[in-house]
Amino acid sequence: MDRIYADNAATTRMSRRAIDAMLPYLDTVYANPSSLHSAGQEAAEALLRAREEVAACIGASPREIVFTSGGSEADNQALLSAAALGERKGKRHIVSTAIEHHAVLHTLKKLEKQGFSVTLLPPEENGMIRPEAVERAIREDTCLVSVMYANNEIGTVEPIREIGAVCRARGVLFHSDAVQAAGHLPVNVKEDGIDLLALSAHKFHGPKGVGALYAKSGVPLVPLIEGGAQERGKRAGTENVPAIVGMAAALREACEKREEVSARLLPLRDRLIEGLSAIPHAALSGDRTARLPSNVHFCFEGIEGESLLLLLDQKGICASSGSACTSGSLDPSHVLLAIGRPHEVAHGSLRLSIGEDFNEEQADYVIRAVRETVEYLRGISPVWRDCLAGKKPFIL
């Protein structure tokens, strides 16, 4: 059987349309979009069109889009800009969540060192952040609320529109890391009440190393990179025209096909969830329904995630884990700990993130492979032996 790629939350395969859109800008249309000559202006026009396309896909105006090197840069710039604005008004408090991506969490840490105070809301067991909890956390000196659109590990989709409404009513800026959502969920910054939003091209079949930051008109951005006047002074450096064109093509395609792809993925996702739920002492992480159509995340008792991943790889399955061992840190995923998984079972996690070429036959193969591998690893696990012998209580 061919390799089954079930790690689309890590990155996706580029779409043919995105590659084809990029090629001329790697080859013949190579001039600098800041150049005044006609060749440069041709590149500048491509940039303009890309900006219009990206803006249209998320309900923004082209002037509200700044191209970046990816989602992390966009998140960094959004948070630092909102903090700088807050600082000027004497507001130095930020509300966010314990399950954010490190691009957000580490930037918040940096702001804390600069004297900001940060409230990280704990999620409910299903990974959900309640709008009421956001409302309660907002103070007089809150300058920003940052809640991710959908979680990259456990797939929970947050009630963004309701949180946006809370922020609007309280007059607080609202940022959302939409890296996992853009192109996969109906993201609309106006309807969702979002002031700052980050997206990353390679998560929706675009190229790596490019992303975008949406900043609502009137929200001033602080440049992270100083230099030329590109991106209206918000991000210096000659624009990565081919990548930006590729991102726009990929996002447009993803948005056009979104409903159709969603409808295809949902039953496959649910087939995986149902099949894996049959494994004893296993638990689905994240919400059952308010969930990315591509995401399946489980914790299995008595085993460790990295060995599960490596054995699945031997069976041709590319998956991921929140497992510490894969990332070089020895602590399990902060997301799993935040939803209340004890360390012991947080180590035994598996994330499958399926793409549009996934099919039923593959789903059944994956279910069988995971079941066999979990059984094998439990067979050599002293933890599992102790659970079976009643020396240790089952957690799941």
Binding site: G302, I303, E304, G305, E306, S307, L310, L311, Q314, S323, A324, C325, G328, S329, L330, P332, P342, H343, E344, H347, I380, S381, P382, V383, W384, R385
Partner: protein
């Protein structure tokens, strides 16, 4: 570059001496499930020689490979020879481990020592307790 050496992958995919011994003369267990690694080692010892060995491991690929390699290194050896096996030798035999996985080899060394201490205790053999420091709670979490 692959995550692990060919030897590590071989021992991970085809672990030697995996399982348990119901009539073991000594059993050692080290690590902590909270940290994501537990190794249990079973020894059969006849006249001071390790005649059989088995292991069970909860842990990542390098933890399983380190356990497997450690069992191979002590099988047929005297207890004293087994005690002399160091984590560095385990790493060497595995053809190296990534820096953040070196603690797995430490755990393998500790598993051997833990089993041998159990052998001494069961048989009333006097031993230098200072050479068998009690594993601190969560000691597996340290980075080596």
């Amino acid at each position: 570059m692959a995550l692990y050496s060919d030897t590590v992958m071989d021992h991970f995919l085809h672990p030697r001496n995996v399982g348990s011994l119901s009539d073991a003369d000594a059993v050692g267990e080290v690590g902590n499930a909270k940290c994501g690694d537990i190794m249990k080692m079973y020894l059969k010892i006849e006249e001071g020689v390790i005649t059989d060995v088995r292991f069970e491991t909860f842990g990542c690929g390098s933890a399983i490979a380190s356990s497997s390699m450690a069992t191979e290194m002590i099988k047929g050896k005297t207890v004293d020879e087994a005690l002399a096996v160091t984590n560095k030798e385990v790493v060497g035999a595995l053809g190296g481990l990534p820096a953040h996985k070196l603690h797995c080899s430490v755990l393998a060394e500790e598993a051997i020592r833990s089993a041998i201490r159990d052998y001494y205790e069961r048989n009333g053999i006097p031993y230098d307790k200072s050479k068998f420091p009690e594993a601190e709670e969560g000691s597996c979490c340290r980075m080596v």
